[in-house]
Symmetry: C2
Subunit: 525 residues, 2 copies
């Protein structure tokens, strides 16, 4: 039963003020219950509990921390269909998508359990003492990574499970040994409460200090800014708009002790349709492109918003097939009235741009908050001349740019800001052209794909869901996949420590069985 | 022969304006030649060359990049005694110290050559395709770290070799595959030019693009701010004052594309003199403490500025022995008139504080810019009440705080900002007390030492020379040791790439012989 309360450590606390409710975007109707706003005292209490839990939680053994992550996965699964139904009502997303997203969310927690057990993230290193070295002896030096401290996580609107209360930021922060204070996204409060209560029960069942997890509700910006300003918060995870992410970056930088903000923000995800591929299978690519563009009403960070192609019969075939697929596509309910309005505004601006031609639109909307998908096109000079054409339009809108040659593509890409993904459609005869482009692609994006579509983001060891600014606020990181744990760690060196005080990760005898660098050489001794 | 020119790629370029000269701090006399100021056009040219060199340099093979770092080490050694003599004249530092620093500098370049050859920094990961996985197949995903781009390095005043033109920031950035543009510290321009010319010759001899290394001279702040603002600069390395570091952080954050700044800034390096150790060897510790405090006129980031101890016979013995050693110590020439003036100002403020008692001073100065070492003391309440007592006084000044018990120490440390080091002097009987303190120590510092002095910083695999803010602007990093390379890398994922386009690090067959994670399992296949 949903109560509309914030979850602060082991307690459930009714918020203050007028509060807010979830809204079913398909009907526009408000949903029960009402969610109060977490007060300054609530935020303070959540941060105090997180800080109080930190020293103990970060030193939990690999096995017990991994077991906790697995218990969280089980507890989320155990919510059962109530979770899927509430998420459907709050997001307008269809059942199969949300069932898949739940599987992704619990799979992610289990992946991080495996990462914790494997232990390479601890980066354990031992440089043995050299008492007889000349001119000076060398001390015994041992390094491990430790958790940075309590982490504030902001739920994202577009993945009510996988990038929300127990999503990638939470899973990777908990795996690193950081307590987490989540600000629920106000677009799916009921879904958040359900998952939050599952997390709360996993903390309790695992015998961990209650402050390891808290969940706060609030509709405005104040909760988030108070949370990021709290001196006990050591890092921030966020997925959302560039404006929202940069606001948090500025708050974090202005603190007496600045802290890192990992904001995944804005990307238009170029797709390079190389001539060989267009010639061979332009038609098939057109269909695939529309599938990727319109999936989930286009509400993905990796939505293919910028196809680049050279004129020719292959492009004609691509466009004809894309037009056919797109025009047949039914409009889809978007996540919130606000997201729908922003989408419509972005589409209207492109449609009104004299240098932009509307290639094809999807079917006319018939219900509330339904986004009508659209493909625009322009030429490379117009694109390069008008920086507004690079703005992300969040939703199923894409702008194809006609290029004269690979040189045009290269110049356009070189001029672009950082991206989460860049996709190549190519055949073997395109290899030399792609090889010329590759250095630019590597500099501009966190993930490069060949002959696929960017909208699937695998949760695995080698995934990068990140990229140079403004794709993320910190291009050295990923928010999806095993490497996401590194965002919440910092190295500590122990010099000439007595054995009794050394942490297990760097003890002689290697009690955790870790891969460690001994004098620079990796091994398992 | 020194010419006073900036080194821009392969060229030597005379600067503009009134320029500046090195000054011998021991005599106050100016040294030849005159150094002009690098112009905006010079900075632009250095950045353009660095950017032009980047794509090629970052893809050099491990062997060729390592050989280049070793060639740089050899070229610096080959300068011979001219380097030591010039550095002595410009810094006031004695010959043995500078010979040791040169050994450290070339050893550091060689360590990074080994790191490049070993290749774990590339973090190579392969998740194999699972075409038959249900409900969705998995793509082939491969991850490696690539260099972030050209790096701006600021030479530090206090290590004219090891934290300067070819110091730790330069060595780690070059090892990562980043071209470097150095701003020479105006306190040692001749030393900088000599090392810069050695670097220039190593670039040439290694057949690398000239933009891999440039060295710019300038006396004011404008060169640095223009350099950090340049859109082709992707990261910044800095060692110096908190004020200077934070100025660069702000410039970097205000860019259209913000970039990371790795500034190693401010630390007072607490030393916990535990009761058991004081009782057993207070006298010996007093001597050792003064040795560490006064070495190099105390001009180390890790200078022991905050001893903490409990009253008692052991502390009396420590203070008596420290007083004897300190009062016998001759004053030492400081690096620059500015550093001497700042030191004197800091000491005068402490001496004038009614809550601070002067325990002992070193001998009176007899020459220009000589710092007189000093040990102050205060009680824990006064220390906690007056935040000015936590300011770093760069030089051989230290403030001992008398604590009543371990609880006092813990409360004081908990209230302190981040530190590069915290040192423990302890005996076995202190173990339980130290165990209570350890979580705080780990949260507050990058390196923890037992029964040693913090002023030696080993260049090795397990070293951390970093720490929470304001010790550094980015507490997730170290500026010394092998892990320093990570500051200049970002991950890129290659999805379903054809073999012909995959970088060697993640090719089948493992041509570089790297340790790689295959489906999350570390191995050398």
């Amino acid at each position: 039963m949903l109560t509309g309360e914030s979850l602060i450590g082991a307690a459930a606390v009714r918020g203050e003020g007028k509060g807010f409710r979830g809204v079913n975007p398909a009907t526009g109707k408000e949903l029960d219950p009402q969610y109060g706003e977490a007060s300054a005292a609530d935020i303070d209490r959540a941060c105090a509990l997180a800080f109080a839990a930190f020293d103990r939680y970060r030193e939990t053994s690999p096995e017990s921390r991994a077991a906790f992550l697995e218990a969280a996965a089980t507890a989320i699964t155990d919510i059962g269909d109530e979770l899927i139904e509430r998420a459907m009502a709050e997001s307008g997303l269809p059942r199969p998508r949300l069932e898949g997203e739940r599987a992704r969310t619990v799979g992610q927690l289990r992946l991080f359990a495996a990462v914790v057990r494997e232990g390479s993230y601890l980066d354990a290193r031992i440089d043995r003492a050299m008492p007889d070295r000349k001119p000076l002896p060398r001390s015994d030096l041992r390094l491990r990574q430790i958790a940075v401290g309590p982490v504030a996580v902001f739920g994202a609107s577009n993945f009510p499970l996988a990038f929300s209360v127990a999503g990638g930021d939470t899973a990777s922060a908990l795996a690193a040994g950081c307590p987490v204070v989540v600000k629920a996204h106000p677009a799916h409060p009921g879904t958040s409460e359900l998952v939050g209560r599952a997390m709360q029960s996993a903390v309790r069942a695992s015998g961990l200090p209650e402050g390891v997890f808290s969940l706060l509700f609030g509709a405005g910006n104040e909760l988030g800014s108070t949370l990021v300003s709290d001196p006990r918060i050591a890092a921030v995870g966020f997925t959302g708009s560039r404006r929202g992410g940069m606001a948090l970056v500025r708050i974090a930088a202005a603190r007496p002790e600045p802290i890192p903000v990992y904001a995944e923000m804005s990307s238009i995800n170029p797709v390079l349709l190389m001539p060989g591929a267009l010639a061979k299978r332009g038609e098939q690519m057109g269909k695939g492109f529309v599938g990727s563009l319109t999936m989930g009403a286009g509400q993905f960070c990796t939505n293919p918003g910028l196809p680049l192609a050279r004129d020719g019969a292959g492009l004609d075939a691509f466009l004809a097939s894309a037009a056919e697929a797109l025009s047949a596509g039914a409009p889809t309910t978007m996540l919130t009235p606000g997201i729908f309005a922003a989408y419509q505004g972005g589409v209207d601006r492109l449609a009104a741009n004299p240098k932009v031609r509307t290639v094809v639109q999807g079917q006319v909307a018939s219900g509330a908050n339904q986004g009508r998908s659209v493909l625009f096109e322009t030429d490379v000079e117009s694109f390069v001349a008008d920086e507004h054409l690079r703005d992300e339009v969040f939703g199923a809108s894409s702008l194809l740019v006609r290029c004269r040659d690979t040189g045009d593509m290269r110049a356009l890409l070189e001029d672009l800001e950082g991206q989460l993904t860049i996709t190549l459609w190519m055949e073997e005869e395109d290899t030399d052209d792609v090889r010329q482009l590759l250095p630019v692609l590597e500099r501009k994006a966190g993930r490069l794909l060949v002959n696929g579509w960017p909208t699937g983001v695998e949760v695995s060891h080698a995934m990068v869901h990140g990229g140079p600014f403004p794709a993320t606020s910190d291009g050295r990181t990923t928010s999806v996949g095993a490497l996401a744990i590194r965002r919440f760690l910092r190295p500590v060196c122990y010099q000439d420590f007595p054995a009794a005080l050394l942490p297990e990760a760097v003890q002689d005898g290697n009690p955790f069985g870790l891969w460690r660098q001994i004098d620079g050489k990796l091994g398992r001794e």
